[in-house]
């Protein structure tokens, strides 16, 4: 028959001691400076919100970068030749001039594709301004030639322009450089804005952590003083506070990741549901590997910011004491 351990106090003590040795820690594993649940819970919420803003701002930068890459890559590998009808020019028909242009362009090294846009496609481009069905047959619409080039070996644009000018003085070669530069200015502004928001959220988080740490130091003044007087180094005391904020930062960061991913999934769903030709240029909020890696940095960053801020604050405050 098995003997109940409660009948043997010595065995119980041995077991208890053995267990303590195995745990290798204090009985209760209690932190010397305990977390303050009443202030830490709202603090978790506030830091999580800050992390969420940081995630949105950082993700926006990534999205803008991707969109700008797509836009500029598409545009910089494309040229457009515009041939305007000139009133009174009847020497050569426009169709013949377009044929000549296509011939020259296709023979130019670095050009991978050259094709004329159909009248219907050209009319579509005008519809946002003139309205569908309002374009009269007689309206002299410029003829457009879409040219795709090899970006690794681009054609000599100046030479091409000169050749075009010889056969059709009204032909205009557009390499979209102006459009590209405007996009870049706008994109850089948006990037700057998102980065400013990111920096502001980090600064706000640091300020919140400074106030929370100071409040913690005031609330735990007795403990800090005892530790100090029995020989604890400032760094030991700081570490006791840091541990709380590492955990707080990590938890807040992971909450923010969940919130940010949910937001992007909802946004992605909305865009794919309502996307049409009018908003085709909007960046798609899909989550790529780089986004996930960035999001994973949020809790780590939050923990790091909170820890360093706490350490700095504790060392500064107790550094003023003897």
């Amino acid at each position: 028959m098995l003997m109940s351990t409660s009948e043997d106090p010595a065995l119980m003590t041995r077991l208890k001691n053995g267990l303590r040795r195995q745990i290798g820690a204090n009985f209760k594993g209690a932190r010397i400076v305990p977390a303050n649940d009443t202030t830490n819970r709202p603090l978790l919420g506030v830091i999580a919100i800050m992390c969420f803003f940081a995630a949105l701002a950082g993700e926006s930068v990534l999205m803008i970068n991707r969109a700008v890459d797509e836009w500029t890559q598409g545009l910089s590998s494309a040229l457009t030749i515009q041939l305007r009808p000139v009133a009174g020019d009847t020497t050569v028909s426009l169709d013949a001039r377009v044929e000549q242009i296509l011939k020259i362009v296709r023979a130019t090294p670095g050009v991978t594709l050259a094709q004329e846009l159909s009248r219907r496609d050209t009319e579509k481009l005008l519809e946002p301004w003139l309205g569908a069905g309002n374009i009269l047959e007689e309206l002299p619409i410029p003829r457009l030639v879409d040219v795709q080039i090899d970006r690794s070996q681009p054609p000599e644009l100046e030479a091409l322009s000169l050749s075009l000018a010889q056969i059709a003085p009204s032909a205009k070669l557009n390499d979209h450089a102006q459009w590209n530069s405007r996009i870049l200015i706008f994109a850089n502004f948006l990037r700057g804005l998102a980065l400013s928001i990111l920096i502001l959220t980090i600064a706000t988080t640091m300020t919140i952590v400074v106030f929370a740490t100071r409040a913690g130091l005031t609330a735990k003044h007795d403990i800090v003083e005892v530790l100090h007087l029995i020989g604890a180094h400032d760094s030991f005391i700081a570490r006791e506070f840091e541990i709380q904020f590492v955990s707080l930062g990590l938890r807040a960061g992971f909450l923010a990741i969940a919130g940010a991913m949910l937001t992007f999934l909802l946004l992605g769903g909305l865009v794919s549901r309502y996307a049409n030709a009018d908003v085709y240029f909007l960046p798609t909020p899909d989550l790529y590997l780089s986004d996930l890696l960035f999001l994973l940095l949020i809790p780590l960053g939050a923990a790091l910011v909170a820890t360093l801020t706490t350490r700095f604050t504790v060392l500064r405050v107790i550094g003023r004491t003897l």
Binding site: N17, R20, R21, G24, A25, N26, F27, K28, A30, I32, P34, D222, I223, E225, V226, L227, L229, I230, G231, A232, H233, D234, F236, G319, L322
Partner: protein, 213 residues
Amino acid sequence: MGAEILRDVSFHLEPGSFHFLTGASGAGKTSLLKLMYMARRPSRGWITMFGQDLVHLPRSSLPEIRRRVGVVFQDFRLINHLSTFDNVALPLVIAGAHPNDYREDVEELLTWVGLGERLDAKPPTLSGGEQQRVAIARAVVAKPDLLLADEPTGNVDPKIGQRLMRLFFELNKLGASVVIATHDEHLVQKIAAPVLSLENGTLVKRPPAAKGA
């Protein structure tokens, strides 16, 4: 600058000495102890301890000296959310000791002060006398070179008080200097030890009282 609490205070404690610090309430006993356990620096004057000039020592060097000084605070200053065991082990934890290395010592010490059954108890659940014993155990656990005790037997019954005094003597025998601030003239009379007496902020040294007087 506030009122001058201590003046013309000059004394030297030999290693391994045992002194009482006496004086009426407000005479400056606690202030003198605070200077000795480095909670305050003197507005003027000079204090050396273990060969170090405490007045001019940078604060970053103070923790190492504080670790050589065990203090029994008048108000105990126990950490309420930690167990009795953890409170006593605190100086060792701060010094970086591993729990396996100090567990038996702490348990033995707590048993010695009569709290062997209350290792897991939190200070708020202990009586005043028990808290005082925890405070004493914490002060002596790291075997300090100097023990400063502010009214260490004020809240305990005479029997426990004697036991605690034996603890101080044991520590003293191991080479620690001991200074016990007390009101208890009976204790001072009973134990033949030199007395540092504070009277109106000045220090008067008295030879050991005749034993049993």
